[in-house]
Subunit: 107 residues, 2 copies
């Protein structure tokens, strides 16, 4: 299972990269919204309405993708992002729960 265009395989996911990616509030928000949606739910990059420019959005999504947290597929004009829920849960059990807990009256 090779890296298909920047998506690390399950065994290639590094904790350091994941934690660094999740250290940014914007990227954490993306993962949280993705996790709140249905499993396998696809969303465009722009649908998150992040308060930054387009180039910065691309940068954040690349960071998330290269950490192995999301998967991006070309869908015609847009590039859809999906949470790699099962992979992340298998490699780092409980991690997603920590993210979803944030911003739910807990933080």
């Amino acid at each position: 299972m090779p890296d298909d265009e920047g998506h690390p395989a399950l065994a290639e996911m590094e904790l350091g990269a994941v934690l660094s990616a999740l250290a940014d509030p914007l990227r954490r928000r993306v993962v949280r919204e993705l996790a709140a949606g249905p499993d396998g739910g696809e969303r465009t990059c722009s649908s998150f309405a992040l308060p930054v420019g387009k180039a910065t959005v691309t940068h954040h999504f690349r960071t998330l993708r290269e950490a192995g947290l999301i998967r991006q597929v070309d869908r015609g004009n847009s590039r859809m992002a999906t949470l790699r829920r099962a992979d992340v849960e298998r490699r780092f059990p409980g991690l997603l729960a920590l993210l979803t807990a944030e911003g739910a009256g807990d933080a």
Copy 2:
């Protein structure tokens, strides 16, 4: 339960600060070694033999302390560090397990 000299209370721990603190390999190593030891086990800063200068060690331990991951107490000449295991586990369940898994044949 106020901040006693840089130690955030349980409710004051922020996920962002914790993830940022854990994004550094050296700090992750400190927490991992602490977690591998007995609960409440005290260790001096220098006992970790981090490959950096003294000033940098102080910086890393301050980051860990201000994130709420460790507690530091003056013990005569040295300053002992202890893992806030119960607090961390209560606030961010499963987080410590992710760290201990790293470097145990898993990563």
